[in-house]
């Protein structure tokens, strides 16, 4: 376990402990989720918000579409009331590919300075993995904090009609070797066609990162996820590693311990909580810096439910629980290969 300290904690606490950083440029999402606007509201109310831009993502058509559009409109109006003017929104389609994402980033880039906060709460993986890569690499961005707001609960139906396994934009393998890759799965609620990947690539070894403790009643779905995978492929209980679902640093360390000795291709499957997905993004980038092959993929659903999550989890002080993770401060990266 590395001894390096990687600052993380409640967003309020992080802000209080960065006195030299007066205000931040925020990248977030206009989303149907009730928790989507908590970070911007906090920054605004504390006078810490400089510029902001919000990615407004349209899913593919589904029975959720009308309700999702209504909820997005509601949250956009909330932002308008907060700012007294229309929010800076960038309309995008859920299945935007790398060139459209590059166009999107060009717009974002003109709106951000050296202190950037990326709120991944309601950003799909296709977007936030891409943004983490770009912001981490951007020399002009000296300080990068990623935030995540915990919902009160999740809906019964989260999404509709997932696709097959495809690399997230920019995170595909770059070697044509047909050797057996290693696979690390962040365990979530739905396996979403993950078996196709296992069947087709026959990865070995397979490791699972199990969120622990999981938000009840989610733990039963987590175990069901594991049971289903185990029905199709052999692995032992030793291959299941329990990880705090909100500790990016710990998940990063687990990945380091499990994967760094594997010099062949590594496949990462971020199906679990967003902070563990963030750890996977950061580990993949660190590994890439070191020149080792890595690929991160997902089985992207066509649409998300308007009831994906409900409410906002609040602490005993009644305030929303917002986790903040420092990725870069004063130009120094915290999740690097040489510390990994």
């Amino acid at each position: 376990m590395t001894g390096e300290y990687r600052p993380a904690g409640p967003l309020n606490w992080i802000i209080d402990h960065l006195p030299n950083h007066s205000d931040w440029d925020l990248i977030g999402a206009i989303s149907a989720e009730p928790r989507a606007n908590e970070v911007v509201r906090l920054l605004f109310n504390r006078g810490k918000l400089h510029n902001s831009c919000f990615i407004d993502i349209e899913d593919q058509a589904s029975e959720f579409q009308i309700a999702t559009q209504d909820a997005r409109k509601l949250h956009r109006n909330e932002l308008q009331n907060l700012f007294g003017q229309s929010p800076n929104a960038i309309p995008m389609e859920l299945f935007s590919e790398i060139d459209d994402l590059d166009d999107m980033f060009a717009k974002i880039d003109s709106n951000i300075g050296d202190r950037v906060m990326l709120d991944i709460t309601s950003l799909p993986k296709r977007f936030f993995f891409y943004l983490v890569r770009k912001l981490r690499a951007a020399e002009t961005v000296k300080n990068l904090i990623v935030t995540y707001t915990v919902p009160r609960s999740y809906g019964k139906t989260l999404h509709k009609n997932p696709g097959g396994w495809m690399p997230l934009p920019g995170f595909g393998s770059e070697v044509s070797s047909s050797k057996q890759p290693m696979l690390v799965i962040a365990v979530g609620y739905h396996h979403l066609k993950l078996l196709d990947l296992i069947r087709e690539r026959t990865p070995k070894p397979i490791r699972l990162l199990m969120p622990f403790p999981s938000m009840p009643p989610g733990f039963s779905q987590n175990w069901e996820f594991i049971r289903y995978i185990h029905e199709q492929v052999e692995f032992s209980s030793q291959d299941i590693r329990r990880v705090d679902p909100f500790s990016v640093s710990l998940a990063f360390e687990h990945l380091r311990a499990q994967c760094s000795a594997h010099v062949g291709e590594l496949l990462l499957a971020p199906f679990g909580p967003k902070p563990i997905s963030l750890a996977m993004a950061l580990y993949a980038l660190a590994r890439e810096d070191f020149g080792l092959p890595v690929s991160v993929g997902y089985t992207q659903p066509r649409a998300y439910s308007d009831l994906y999550s409900q409410g906002v989890q609040r602490g005993h002080d009644g305030k929303p629980i917002i986790h903040a993770y420092c990725v870069k401060l004063n130009g120094d990266l915290f999740y690097r290969w040489d510390t990994a």
């Binding site: 590919e97 060139d99 696709g163 495809m166 690399p167 995170f171 393998s173 770059e174 196709d196 026959t202």
Partner: protein, 671 residues
């Protein structure tokens, strides 16, 4: 070897199997039916998930051919030497990243479509050419006795000379740089593939002129050119066929469906065109699921020879009735042998040895409720005369099945029968006494058992060889999956101290309730698998649930048993075609193997040409339906299915453009 290992733990053997183990596990039963695979000309091998396409295509791979050549116990399933004179190179479209070319598709950039096609074609060509060179190299690294009969000509020197020739040939721009050895050529091709992979990631933004200026324009062309050189230089014999294998073609359809407002058949057309060219030097082998091949331009028999595994393995009235049972038996024995269960594997009928006989109807009822007071449990509709009902309850004490048939008889003859028609001697009952009523009874046994199970709040039990083969529905993966689940239950039962004292062989056939438990578990797994279908899994699952639950309710509510074949539906073709949403969802569910689609001759001629659909047999235990396909299915109108579609989340009222997004399988012309 431990006797408690599950021989069916790994269901997908093709991908997970070590090539050296392939000959022991591959069943040659289908070999006489697939000889077009080895002959000249294009072949499209279609089959739903688990019909064994990839296993059959694996026979063409060089590594597998070498494994057979090196095996002392197993010979290559095709014995005709002339058929074996071929070289094969190929690509699995699911695993070899060719589909990632779509990552550079850009909205509102029309020029990109052609660029993407070229990237895809060149990527696949490069991959196949590399595979060809590696395959020949691998063969030549073995004894001449191995490679000479396979169609290679003069050996290593001719091969090396061919490589040099290819390096100088303007026909193969990929290899224009000097490539004096096969290793250098393969390395160059690998570098080119890696360049594409980086480009697909958006790094670099541009492919680079060195690649762009040398991109190959049509699928297979550089391989055809290479083969010409290989033959001219004597490396390949003149009569050697060049087979190009493209497996998992359906992945192209699924990738295209992910592109918003995509050009329809963006990449599939490249393969269609390759087949249409009928290039004399090349023979394509396309492995696909049926739904992805439904609207291709190429014409069967003119452009390619179709091999449909589902049709081949379906149990027909005439012809190959025994093909699937024989295949299942052979696969079963090979798996058992590989896991050390030789004693069972070597018996005359290993499936029968493990699972035993299937239950006769009375036995099936006994299993549903061994201690049930059927006289009290049997449900008799109010319409039945009380005196008749009393007689039926009397019969039910010892013969619940006859009593249930009595309920149906009474319901069908409400105004005509009386209590004297129901004597306590069951042989005297109408349907037993009267020869022409034998069929009346036979056709209603399943529905009677189903209704008894419902009366007793139980499910129908399934066990025994025939049940397992019937539930497999001609799909070898379903069969292996049932075996896997039953074996798991059996292994768990052996932990029981009572069973530990006996030898494991003494616990065969596997206890019926363990078989039933395993079958239910397998059925649940296959039900869940519906949701795994790319892009439409949740929609299909909801639709299948609507249909399955409706059929169950109808079967249970049909107290007069007027529709004993009501475990499927029939729709007139013209009616279905008038509602594209209904047609598409039925077509998708059938193409993916969740519904069995058959032609149907309706009772009423005016109804016109019709089709009937049944849930796949493995879903029967989950939906609690009957298993037999006798008598008439339920006649429905296409509009009757609309509520199912709406509840499955399909918006029927969508505009054509929106519908295209909801249904990725739409033809461009229809939207």
């Amino acid at each position: 070897m431990s006797m408690r290992r599950n021989p069916f733990t790994t269901l997908y053997v093709t991908e997970r199997l070590d090539q050296a183990d392939f000959p022991a596990l591959f069943s040659p039963i289908l070999a006489p039916h697939i000889t077009p695979l080895f002959e000249a000309g294009n072949v499209v091998i279609e089959g739903t998930q688990g019909t064994g396409k990839s296993m059959l295509l694996a026979l063409l791979q060089t590594k597998i051919r070498i494994a057979y050549a090196e095996s002392s116990r197993h010979t290559y399933p095709i014995e005709d030497r002339a058929l074996c004179q071929f070289v094969c190179a190929g690509i699995n479209l699911a695993t070899n990243q060719a589909l990632r070319s779509a990552a550079r598709w850009k909205k509102d950039d029309e020029g990109r479509d052609d660029e993407l096609r070229l990237c895809f074609i060149d990527y696949v060509n490069t991959w196949i050419l590399r595979d060809l060179l590696e395959s020949i190299d691998l063969m030549l690294s073995h004894s001449r006795l191995l490679w000479e009969p396979l169609g290679l000509g003069e050996g290593r020197d001719a091969f090396n000379a061919s490589i040099v020739e290819m390096g100088m040939s303007p026909l193969i721009p990929i290899l224009v740089q000097e490539s004096p050895t096969v290793q250098v050529a393969v390395h160059q091709l690998s570098l080119r593939i890696d360049r594409y992979l980086q480009f697909f990631n958006g790094r670099p933004k541009d492919l680079g002129n060195d690649i762009r200026d040398t991109q190959t324009q049509s699928l297979g062309q550089p391989v055809a050119d290479a083969v010409t050189i290989l033959k001219r230089m004597g490396c390949l014999a003149q009569g050697t066929r060049m087979l190009i294998m493209l497996d998992q073609f359906e992945q192209l359809l699924e990738m295209e469906a992910s592109l918003p407002n995509r050009p329809y058949r963006l990449l599939r057309d490249t393969i269609d065109q390759a087949l249409h060219r009928r290039e004399p030097t090349l023979s394509f082998r396309i492995g696909t699921r049926p739904y992805a091949w439904q609207d291709m331009e190429g014409q069967a028999l003119r452009d390619y020879h179709p091999l449909n595994l589902d049709e081949m393995l379906a149990r027909k009235e005439h012809g190959n009735r025994d093909l699937f049972p024989n295949l299942a038996s052979d696969v079963f024995a090979r798996r058992l042998k590989a896991f050390g269960y030789d004693q069972i594997a070597d018996t005359a009928d290993p499936i029968d040895a493990v699972f035993g006989a299937y239950p006769k109807p009375r036995e099936r009822v006994r299993q549903i409720g061994p201690n049930t007071n059927w006289s009290a449990k049997i449900s008799i509709p109010k319409e039945v005369d009380t005196e008749i009902a009393a007689r039926i309850r009397e019969i039910a004490i010892d013969n619940p099945l006859e009593a249930k048939l009595g309920v149906a008889w009474a319901m069908q003859n409400l105004d005509k029968c009386n209590a004297s028609d129901f004597p306590s001697e069951v042989d005297e009952l109408h349907w037993n006494r009267n020869e022409e009523k034998k069929w009346w009874k036979k056709e209603r046994l399943w529905i009677a058992i189903l209704q008894l199970a419902a009366d007793n709040r139980q499910k129908i039990v399934f066990f025994g060889k025939k049940d397992i083969l019937d539930l497999s529905g001609g799909n070898i993966l379903v069969f292996a999956s049932i075996c896997q689940h039953i074996w798991e239950c059996w292994i768990r039962s052996l932990v029981n101290p009572k069973n530990r004292t006996t030898r494991w062989e003494d616990n065969l056939p596997i206890e019926r309730k363990l078989q039933n438990e395993g079958i239910l578990s397998a059925s649940n797994t296959w039900h869940r698998k519906i949701s795994e279908e790319t892009w439409i899994g949740d929609t299909l699952l909801s639709f299948m649930d609507e249909m399955g639950n409706w059929l169950r309710r109808e079967l249970n509510d049909d107290r007069s048993m007027s529709y004993p074949g009501g475990n499927g539906i029939s729709l007139a073709n013209r009616d279905v075609n008038s509602l594209p949403e209904v047609r598409k969802v039925l077509s998708e569910a059938s193409g993916r193997g969740f519904l069995l689609q058959r032609k149907h001759t309706p009772k009423v001629r005016e109804r016109g040409e019709s089709k009937k659909w049944y849930p796949h047999p493995i879903l029967v235990p989950y939906y609690e339906l009957t298993l037999n396909h006798t008598k008439e299915p339920r006649y429905l109108k296409a509009s009757d299915l609309l509520p199912w579609l709406v509840r499955a989340g399909v918006d029927i009222a969508r505009s054509p453009k929106e519908r295209q997004m909801t249904f990725p399988w739409d033809k461009a012309g229809e939207t």
